[in-house]
């Protein structure tokens, strides 16, 4: 199949509204305006939606509302429109939509319309919206053809870009309709029954090449860091090494200003910015800055390695009342009356996003300061635009944002602090300015997946059934720590789930699947510990727990079958299984690994994974996202550790913050997508949360030893093996 063409990211709102001729579908609660122009006041009332532009040559421009950070929704979302509009995909051109959440948003976490791309929600959030938009666009074409031919609209059908009147044999290309199209007074909401059923899909569920890939293999894809403007200057910032401290004084200001190419220094709340005529000069000067920082920041006494002991004590301190997330039945009685009880602690270190494109943004302020343009790769373009507007003291409507590709997001690019910084420096410079964080900046002032201690307790009855389940999460990071703490598909008659948070003053943030990684690790490893002691097969114990959930059972059984569960692994290898759910998708994975007993290095040989994500739009992309999630998850489980000493991040670049490299990746990853007609759920993170449990369980299967602290670095593995 031919791939769609891509144009990115130049579209401006004004240009968009004026259009380049042709016919733009602008749909508002049942009304459509063709050829909307800037003079058409109704276009500006904030209630319209506008997804498709049809050209007389038959080309169909479809607007993508989500940030593209590698997850492929820039292709998957337009597919939804094209499917219901019945477009010939080879005629599709994909452009980024303007950032107008009232028009292009999907339902956000707080109920309003949002254009934030997070939590693997792009496809699931837009599934109905975009199919409806496509179906309504198709209705307009049928309406016009019916008028032209003077036949009832009900007699018309479409076939991949052609309207057909069967009884007369008449046909009309979509592009021909663009020449004369008029809008009906009212466009009906197309009922679900009149939309395509899964068996009729031509595009959904097929492998359509991603539209962004050609530009990503020849260097032409534009990230914000690639934007070059005439007369542009460069910015770099030395930020406080301890979160919360402020710059009091620059002790070597004069010598910095003497560096050839340094233009200015800007004191910010949390650091000192350098403006220079080249990026290398900005980096060099930034490195030489000698800044006196304020004392007494909350984070200044924080030592993360030592904090584990505090969190362990807190987990066992009955006087602490944390946030109770779930309390069903009577956990105290259940544990007291149990035939046998179990207790284990699981831990995880902080994890850093390590997106390969360091944070950056380009801001150009108009000479009179009244407006600005912003180029940025952001998961949250609305908040990015707001951040720039606030920094510049102008209205949000005065900031034109140009969304660029994101060189990795993973949650980090849902924050907008780097945009504020770029705007402040650009304002001072009086010229277009590109702010770039060095890798060292990106780590030192990162915002991390929280570290935590998970105190797991359980009681079983005489048959080995788990009758009481207690899960207490302690750490710093609040609700970030509790995603995935609930076991939605396991039934425990008595359970207690609680979070005990300490604000340590350090920066934490969502990170691919965030709390699901540590929580599912603890849950799945703990279940295996109980199963092993009760001499119940790990698959069997899970089947009992999820017996009321056929979709979950199917996922678990599929993964077990793929791995030939029940047959012994090859000599020297161990196998472990784990189950998880994330963003509505169900996953199970079987890990097969070996360990080098001299070096302590774990090598994962195979991962067999089953996934139920409802209707899958782009199957191969779902596999790609799952492969990526497994590797991202394995990286955090085997090697990633970020620590604080006296509030300062101890790692500085990829030599001491170890993300997975190709030689350490699994030799083989096999993923099976369970066929489903349920509505789509998220897949960008779904195959990450089971990884920790599967690896820990496989290691225990091989060695009889339980690894309970992520990451399982070689030194920790050697220590465990020798104990």
């Amino acid at each position: 199949m031919e791939s769609a063409k891509t144009i990115i990211p130049k579209i401006s709102r004004r240009k968009f509204l004026v259009g380049a001729g042709g016919f733009t579908f602008l749909i508002t609660t049942g009304v459509i305006w063709p050829k909307l122009s800037a003079e058409n006041k109704t276009a500006n009332d904030g209630t319209i939606t506008a997804w498709v532009h049809l050209q007389p040559d038959g080309k169909v421009i479809i607007y993508n509302p989500a940030a593209e950070m590698g997850q492929g929704s820039m292709t998957a979302l337009p597919v939804l429109i094209a499917e219901e509009m019945d477009v010939d995909w080879s005629m599709v051109i994909i452009e980024n939509s303007p950032i107008i959440p009232e028009i292009y948003g999907s339902r956000g976490f707080r109920g309003g319309k949002s254009m934030i791309t997070v939590g693997s929600r792009a496809v699931s959030g837009y599934y109905e919206i975009l199919r409806q938009a496509g179906a309504q666009a198709r209705y307009v074409l049928l309406y016009n053809a019916a008028q032209k031919w003077n036949v009832p609209i009900q007699e018309l059908t479409t076939d991949a870009g052609v309207v057909i009147h069967k009884s007369s044999g008449k046909k009309m290309l979509y592009g021909e309709i663009a020449e004369f199209a008029k809008s009906p007074d009212k466009i009906p909401k197309i009922p679900k029954e009149q939309m395509k059923q899964p068996g009729q899909f031509r595009l959904i569920g097929k492998n359509i090449p991603r539209c962004d890939i050609p530009g990503k293999v020849n260097g032409s894809a534009i990230f914000a860091i690639d934007i070059q403007l005439p007369d542009m200057v460069y910015g770099a910032i030395s930020r406080t090494p301890v979160n919360g401290a402020r710059p009091v004084n620059v002790l070597n200001k004069d010598s910095i200003m003497e560096i050839d190419g340094v233009i200015d220094l800007v004191t910010l709340e949390h650091g000192v910015g350098v403006i220079a005529n080249s990026i290398e000069t900005a980096f060099k000067a930034k490195k030489q800055l000698h800044i006196q920082w304020s004392e007494g920041a909350k984070a200044a006494n924080y030592n993360s390695v030592e904090a584990f002991e505090k969190y362990e004590n807190m987990a066992g301190d009955a006087s602490i009342k944390g946030n109770v997330i779930k309390d069903e039945g009577n956990i105290t009685n259940a544990l007291q009356n149990a035939e046998k009880t179990y207790s284990s602690d699981y831990k995880n270190d902080f994890a850093y996003h390590a997106q390969i494109e360091p944070l950056n943004a380009v801001v150009s302020v108009a000479p009179d300061g009244s407006s600005a343009e912003l180029w940025v790769g952001s998961q949250a373009p609305v908040s990015a635009r707001r951040a720039a507007a606030q920094a510049l003291g102008i209205a949000e409507t005065k900031v034109e944002i140009h969304p660029c590709y994101l060189g990795g997001g993973f949650g980090r690019r849902s924050m907008s602090g780097y945009v504020s910084e770029a705007a402040l420096l650009a304002k001072r410079a009086g010229k277009p300015l590109k702010l770039v964080w060095t890798r060292e900046d990106d780590i030192a002032y990162g915002a991390f997946r929280p570290m935590s201690v998970q105190r797991m307790q359980a009681g079983v009855d005489k048959s080995g059934n788990i009758v009481g389940w207690s899960h207490i999460v302690v750490g710093t990071g609040g609700r970030l720590m509790t995603s995935g703490v609930n076991t939605l598909f396991y039934t425990f008659p008595n359970q207690h789930i609680e979070m005990r948070n300490v604000d340590e003053g350090v920066r934490t943030k969502h990170w691919r699947a965030v709390g699901h990684g540590p929580n599912k690790f603890a849950i799945e490893a703990f279940i295996d510990e109980i199963a092993a002691d009760q001499k119940i097969d790990p698959v069997e114990i899970r089947k009992r727990l999820m017996k009321n959930h056929p979709r979950a059972l199917k996922v678990l059984e599929t993964a077990a079958k793929m791995a030939n569960w029940g047959t012994p692994p090859p000599p020297g290898r161990g196998r472990g299984i784990a189950f998880a759910e994330r963003s509505g998708s169900l996953t199970a994975g079987v890990c097969e690994l070996s360990v080098d007993r001299n070096s302590g290095r774990i090598q994962v040989h195979n991962f067999w994974v089953a996934l139920d994500a409802g209707v899958v739009i782009q199957p191969d992309n779902v596999l790609a996202q799952s492969e990526g999630s497994i590797i991202f998850g394995l990286s955090s489980v085997l090697s990633e550790s970020l620590t604080f000493k006296k509030g300062k991040v101890q790692q500085s670049n990829f030599h001491d913050y170890n993300v997975m490299r190709i030689a350490d990746a699994p030799e083989n990853i096999e993923i099976k997508i369970i066929p489903s007609n349920e509505r789509p759920s998220g897949v960008g993170e779904a195959a990450l949360p089971f990884v920790g449990g599967a690896v820990s369980n496989a290691f225990a299967n091989l060695t009889g030893i339980r690894l309970r602290h992520i990451p399982f670095t070689p030194d920790k593995v050697l220590e465990a093996l020798s104990s």
Partner: protein, 151 residues
Amino acid sequence: MKTTFNLNGKTVQVETLSDATLLWTLRDHLGLTGTKYGCGEALCGACTVHLDGMAVRSCTTPMSMVTNRSVTTIEGLSNDNSHPLQKAWIEEQVPQCGYCQSGQIMQAAALLQNNSHPTREQILAQMNGVICRCGTYTRIVRAIERTAQNL
């Protein structure tokens, strides 16, 4: 400092600071932004280009080292995706965010230039210096193997 060198088959002359690196010279002076900044310390490989056919990290390559030598960037590999590796990369749908992929492809191109039929172990060893955070490693291996088969 003026440096003359061959860039993607053409002789260029560029004026930079004396301690300028090849990476930022390519990006900010010569407008070739396909080569990416990732770490600045030759640790991630996103900036990989060819210097006289060898894969080097442009972020730690000083311009003084480039004089009268040949540099090939991703743009020089081909700009119409006609290079066998680019074709294989598309066929296998390798990139996700895409930021590291210029470096991945340039590293792979250097590998295949010296060894047109590498073993899996040789591929892993050669590619280990280029990080892909999105986790496209299994597809990178497949794309290189596919290219080698067709050579």
